[in-house]
């Protein structure tokens, strides 16, 4: 799944570790989501969306090719 997580994080000047702490996951989890290797669960996707003040659809976009 494509996502805008890196862009949104960079806009706020947060490190991957800092974002991880804010949503309660490890830095590795953020790295994997940003690298589009790991799709987060719905609860984590909601936490990220709430943190950035956006909807899940604003952050994540289905990879139609898959």
């Amino acid at each position: 799944m494509k996502n805008r997580l890196r862009e949104l994080r960079a806009e706020r000047g947060w490190s991957q570790a800092e974002l991880g702490v804010r949503v309660g996951v490890s830095r590795q989890a953020i790295i994997a989501v940003e690298g589009e290797r790991f799709d987060p669960s719905l609860p984590l996707a909601f936490k990220l969306a709430r943190l950035f003040g956006l909807t899940i659809e604003d952050i994540f976009e289905p990879d139609e090719g898959k």
């Binding site: 996951v25 690298g35 290797r37």
Partner: protein, 134 residues
């Protein structure tokens, strides 16, 4: 979890990991020396030590998975699956090598150390895969 307690927990986990790895590596060495003594008591102690040597490490891994987030759990699930498949290949290879007469009998220590190495390699490989950019 607060950042400070998260950090302390990570440090504790790291030391527990190192300690359990030392026990994991050291227990078979001591157990082999006990086996060589040949007395019943020494052999019983070797079995107990040899088997229980891996328990602290398994406990640490279990706790890492239990306390980990969804990504840690996914990583261990994928790594465990690959390690299991690798173990299947290793055991079947040993079986067929014996049946075909290339080995007189499989060395069980090679098998269980092989399982352990496969697990570690699968974990490292899985971590590398998830951290790479798509």
């Amino acid at each position: 979890m607060e950042p400070n307690s998260r950090y302390r927990s990570a440090v504790r986990s790291f030391y527990a990991w190192i300690g359990s790895m030392i026990v994991l590596g050291g227990a078979p060495i001591v157990a082999l020396q006990l086996v060589e003594r040949g007395t019943l008591l020494a052999r019983v102690a070797a079995v107990v030590l040899g088997v229980s040597g891996s328990l602290p490490w398994l406990w640490v891994v279990f706790n890492i998975i239990r306390r980990g987030d969804e990504f840690v759990r996914r990583m261990h699930l994928v790594a465990g699956t690959f390690a299991f498949a690798g173990a299947l290949v290793l055991v079947s290879a040993a079986d067929w090598l014996v049946r075909a007469g290339f080995l007189s009998h499989p060395n069980l220590m090679v098998l269980w150390v092989g399982f352990l190495l496969l697990w570690l390699i699968a974990l490292l490989g899985t971590q590398r895969y998830f951290e790479r950019e798509r």
